[in-house]
Symmetry: C2
Subunit: 244 residues, 2 copies
């Protein structure tokens, strides 16, 4: 079983150039060792209808959907409302989260904070990551905050839940001091011999060390290593800067 995932990244700030999304990279790197393939990332603004329609199309097409952002207490945090609309459910106050909030904020608690206790009806609270703070799960949709440190922390807490029986993805690389034109026949050769290994070729512009990184990705470590060795065996040795 090869499970797939999609990320729905929510926030005006990412589309207006105020903030650089790093959660997608965190997610993709966390999923590789689990053998889960991230197939699609969609970035949209904080708009209820858009969130509703995206969550619906992504959750039907992938095994897992991870949303990032829009779960704080302010007016621009509309992810819960969007998911509720998409799933055709109500938003209800969670006594469990309300108690956590009251415990955490104590005398500093405001009505604003309590807004974070308003969840999609039927939300599962998964007790991973930050001890006091469960993650919202709705079927195959995992609702994560946009703040990068908390996103990473909560994702780590979800890993036991996500673990299946897939082999992890294995990655090897060869750095070359030649451009893609002359490399192309060697790439075509290894691609033809190893159809089960994903071969990538990435020009590193302005890099003094090497001009192209060639990568070999797959689920079968021996096939990935064989593909790398086969490519190296073909290539003129003085084109190779290193292999990793």
């Amino acid at each position: 079983m090869n499970r797939t995932a999609a990320a729905l990244v929510i926030g005006n700030e990412l589309l207006s150039g105020k903030v650089h999304d790093s959660n997608t990279l965190t997610l993709s790197r966390a999923l590789r060792p689990l053998g889960i393939e991230l197939r699609r990332v969609v970035v949209i603004p904080d708009e209820v209808e858009l969130i509703a329609s995206e969550v619906n199309s992504l959750r039907h097409a992938h095994d897992f959907v991870f949303t990032s952002g829009g779960v704080g207490p302010t007016h621009d945090d509309v992810t819960v409302e969007g998911i509720a609309l998409g799933l055709g459910r109500r938003v209800v106050r969670s006594p469990v989260v309300e108690a956590l909030l009251r415990d955490h904020y104590g005398a500093r608690l405001t009505e604003g904070h309590l807004r974070m206790a308003d969840l999609v009806e039927g939300t599962e609270l998964y007790p991973g990551g930050s001890p006091a703070w469960p993650t919202m799960v709705l079927g195959n949709v995992f609702v994560l905050p946009g703040v990068p440190q908390i996103f990473a922390h909560k994702l780590e807490g979800l890993l036991p839940r996500l673990r299946g029986d897939e082999a992890p993805f294995v990655l090897r690389s060869v750095d070359c001091n030649i451009d893609e034109g002359p490399l192309k026949p060697y790439l075509d050769g290894v691609v033809a011999r190893f159809p089960d290994v994903s071969v990538g070729s990435y020009p590193h512009w302005g890099n003094e060390d090497h001009r192209v990184r060639v990568t070999f990705d797959g689920r079968d470590p021996s096939r990935v290593l064989d593909a790398q060795a086969s490519f190296l065996g073909d290539l003129p040795p003085d084109w190779v800067v290193r292999s990793d």
Copy 2:
């Protein structure tokens, strides 16, 4: 007229965590002074059918589509083929681009390089950016390379083509040393008074300097400044670290 844009970011390497996309940030920052709103970013793997269907759905829903990646000479560069499929057109060898490639590579030219002269039939070659290298344009679809330095350079060359009569977006901010809970009523106030200004609130976790950045975005500079001033006027002064 408020024009919108979408980005289609193409590349397995972005979904497998090998490379961090920075072209989206470059694009969003380039579009703000033009008053063009980036509404959607989609990241997909190097797959012809996916590229075809995404290009089609994005180009009908936005004024501009910018694709990034997949235009080099190697086997994993399938953006041109994908766009051709989406538009129902053939891929044909461009004599103009072939001449540019022959001129650029001279004796080093390979069959691999020449693959970059195979374009979607009817492609317009826009002569901006890098002097020797035109940008492929298909109606409202602008086809840009994934290498960040070349992406930025070519995008800069496209700016005259993209310029319209919209006012640029204006951005102001207020950094606060208090969390979003107590800020919420003040945010709700300014949001209600300035429905034409987009107000954002971004917790900066682990930041020693400030805890939340509040931003004010809009096309009318006086309204943006008034919203910022109105928010500052309401707020307890000792919550404010700075306003920009």
